[in-house]
């Protein structure tokens, strides 16, 4: 299991390859690797120039660790990876990725979805959309994000 909370960009290809190599050499018999990548989306009005992501250093790492351990146990994952960025990002930039490895693909897919659902509402990140004129709007949490968690009860 590896967790990284960072300002810097990550190399999707390199991270995926490293994850695959780690799983391959771990001796665990994993037949499925799933990776998900989150990308900063432009606003609907098209006036967003950047996304500023604030987080709670210390709690962020702890929360992601708890969520990932939960997923690892629940789906008997061979391995899991979470990378989440903070700071100022522009549309099109990769904001985060998760990777899961399991014996079978359904477990790897489900665990990745679980990680995404929980990262969205339980990891202490806050997004602010910055517009051309320098003003910003905090992104509000959606009821649907909270509802998404109930399917894992």
């Amino acid at each position: 299991m590896r967790i990284a909370v960072q300002k810097d960009a990550f190399d999707l290809g390199e991270e995926s390859q490293r994850f695959a190599s780690d799983v391959a050499t771990s001796g665990v018999n994993a037949g499925a690797l799933v990776t998900f990548t989150g990308v900063v989306r432009g606003s609907e009005k098209g006036d967003m120039v950047a996304m500023e992501i604030e987080h709670y250093p210390g709690m962020t790492e702890r929360a992601i660790e708890t969520i990932t351990q939960e997923a690892q146990q629940r789906w008997s994952l061979a391995d899991a990876l979470v990378i989440h960025r903070h700071g100022r990002l522009v549309p099109g930039e990769q904001i985060m990725m998760v990777a899961t490895a399991a014996r079978h693909r359904s477990d790897a897919f489900e665990a990745a979805e679980y990680l995404m659902d929980y990262l969205k509402s339980r990891a202490p990140f806050w997004k602010k959309e910055m517009t051309q004129d320098g003003t910003g709007n905090w992104v509000e949490a959606k009821d649907s994000d909270e509802e998404a968690l109930t399917r894992w009860d």
Partner: protein, 81 residues
Amino acid sequence: MDVLYFAWVRERIGLPKEKVETTATNVRDLVAELSARGPRYAAAFADLSALRVALDQDLSDFDAPLEGVREVAFFPPMTGG
């Protein structure tokens, strides 16, 4: 104890972190004390349903006791991912 604010709570209050001497026994009482400090605080804490609280970096709730807690953080619902 240390009290931390994030996102619009931080902006509304005007600082990210402060030391607070309090006799409050639970989060709700601490919020009442802070709200009485002035309009910025009152505005930030006006609607508790729009806020979340963490005690020593674990999500908690407004009825939780503060005994032994060293760090309290207030913030809006999270929007990661």
